[in-house]
């Protein structure tokens, strides 16, 4: 069941250039599955519409987000101070597949701040006995610092645009990408996800991609965030944000 809650900011730290890691606290937060998102109301009405933010991690009393302040709304959200209240609607959408036979190999591919929703997914897969690995495309070394949390859980492969850390180049050029997996799950810029999906399809590997079309309601009511698919226009907010790439016509 979706809820609208007033949560309190208990931590708000810049963890990489332009990335805020924010912890919100409350009571009776509804259960979340990895890959779902929340809508956060911009403080002071900075934007009329709430901003969709993917969930980094969540419990019954905490919600962790990683936010890049790119527009007026996300900037106002990132300006929130410890102790401020934020209005949050959660959980929204359909997340990643989490049920795999024990021992399955799953690759999680993240690009930029798109690595955020993969953290909760990684935790879930590891708990379920899935052999998960992580492949991230980042801007440069400081972003990689934030990835220590993932590294503690699973093998991690990092590419940077500037070569300042790990592999220099695109995720699709990383040796780890060429291995076989039972599933690739990803979140990041569309060009990256399209390239990954194309390669996965060629190799017969199923893939899931988390999209982030512009949305208004987040509930499947306004039909603004549609993505053309084999089943017609589907709502990223309700039918996604995670789609099997075989459905997508991008």
């Amino acid at each position: 069941m979706k809820k609208q809650l007033l949560l309190t900011v208990s931590s708000n730290r810049v963890v990489a250039p332009g990335w805020h890691h924010m912890v919100l606290e409350g009571t009776d937060l509804p259960p979340v599955t990895p890959g779902q998102f929340v809508e956060v109301a911009a403080p002071h009405g900075a934007t009329l519409l709430n901003r969709p933010i993917s969930i980094f991690d969540a419990t019954a009393t905490t919600l962790e987000l990683v936010i890049a302040p790119v527009g007026d709304g996300t900037k106002a959200i990132c300006d929130a101070k410890v102790g401020d209240s934020l209005r949050v609607i959660m959980p929204l959408g359909k997340g990643f597949t989490t049920e795999f036979p024990v021992g399955s190999k799953v690759l999680l591919v993240g690009g930029g701040v798109g690595i955020a929703p993969l953290y909760m997914q990684l935790c879930t897969l590891i708990d379920a006995g899935v052999k998960a690995e992580v492949l991230f495309g980042l801007r440069s070394r400081p972003d990689a610092e934030f990835c220590k949390q993932y590294e503690a859980l699973a093998p991690i492969h990092i590419c940077t645009d500037d070569g300042s850390f790990g592999h220099h180049g695109l995720v699709t050029s990383h040796p780890a990408f060429g291995q076989h997996y039972d599933m690739i799950q990803m979140c990041g810029p569309k060009p990256m996800m399209r390239a990954v999906a194309a390669s996965a399809a060629e190799r017969g590997i199923p893939a899931e991609a988390s999209l982030e079309n512009m949305m208004a309601c987040g509930l499947g009511a306004c039909l603004c965030c549609v993505e053309p698919t084999e089943k017609g226009n589907l709502c990223v907010c309700k039918d996604g944000p995670v789609f099997n790439t075989s459905l997508l016509t991008w």
Binding site: A41, C217, L219, L223, C225
Partner: protein, 302 residues
């Protein structure tokens, strides 16, 4: 409720005047986690056409100051899907449902009305002659008196119960259009639909919407909507349903004072999904604090 919140749109009696606007509330179910739908006076479901429609290409929305633009273009699974799959789910809520009927040709509007007529629990339809986001029909009907009257008259003959007609604000004289649809047999008018607007992404040097122009809604349009409701309510004898930027009980009361017999919450459903369900009680509180025992005492006092 302590206050008498009831309102009458001709033969259509509502427990309270707060409705939700078509296209902002899905089929109602999308909001069930956030309110008891029964709290609403009525809810108007997605614009329904004869054939299924995929709507316009993405991108379909843009944020604007205190508002938004949309160009959804009537995406919906068609009237037959509605009748077979959606309508049966309403059960006890049937009397709260109003179907927004859209189309490109008069025959299509009529056919949709004919197909809906056998749903006896469906008390009203809202005729959308003002959608700015479809190439044919839609707003074209709503911007001339003859066009508005023709489609209203044709549907009037096909639809036996309450017929509400939704008017476009993109006209020189909305009172002329309102008088035309009143003369053609409308039981009520709802206004305003969206103002036609546009926004450009200057970095990408292209329009924000795939359709270039789209419909503007949200608090930004409220003054235009209040003005038009006031003008139309003075001009016609049928009830007026006001909408455009309503975000609070105070906004709803403003429209009622301007002459509205009922109101619709639209874009604000996207901002606070529980708002529409809460506003009736907030109006009740306001009335109690202001010594108003029957809400409709306030209707048209300006």
């Amino acid at each position: 409720m302590v206050t008498d919140m009831s309102t009458q749109l001709g033969d259509l009696v509502l427990s309270n005047p707060v409705m939700t606007a078509s296209g902002t509330f899905g089929y109602g179910f999308e909001y069930e986690d956030f309110m008891a739908l029964d709290n609403l006076g009525a809810f108007i479901v997605k614009g329904t056409t004869l054939e299924p429609r995929q709507g316009n290409d993405y991108p379909r929305m843009a944020q604007t100051p205190a508002g938004m633009l949309n160009a959804v273009g009537l995406q919906n699974p068609g009237v037959e899907h509605f009748i077979e799959h959606t309508w049966p789910r309403y059960g006890a809520l049937e009397s709260k449902v109003i179907v927004n009927v859209s189309g490109a040709k008069i025959e299509d509007y009529v056919r949709v009305a004919e197909l809906l007529a056998p749903l006896e629990g469906l008390r009203a339809i809202e005729l959308n002659i003002s959608c700015p986001n479809v190439k044919q029909g839609g707003m074209a009907f709503g911007t001339t008196c003859d066009g508005a009257a023709s489609v209203t008259r044709a549907v009037r003959d096909a639809w036996p119960r309450h017929l509400m007609v939704k008017l476009s604000p993109n006209v020189t004289s909305i009172t002329d259009i309102a008088l035309a649809v009143e003369g053609a047999g409308a039981d009520s008018v709802s206004l305003i639909n969206t103002l036609m607007g546009m926004a450009i992404d200057i970095e990408r040097r292209r329009p924000m919407l795939s359709t270039v122009t789209g419909g503007m809604s949200g608090p930004a349009v409220k003054p235009v909507a209040v003005r038009m409701v006031w003008q139309v309510a003075k001009a016609v004898k049928i009830p007026v349903v006001g909408l455009g930027g309503i975000a609070s009980a105070a906004d709803a009361i403003e429209f009622i004072m301007a002459g509205a017999s009922a109101v619709q919450i639209g874009t604000y459903n996207f901002v606070d999904p529980s708002a529409a369900g809460r506003i009736p009680a907030e109006i009740d509180s306001w009335c109690q604090a202001h010594g108003v025992s029957r809400l409709m005492e306030l209707k048209g006092i300006i």
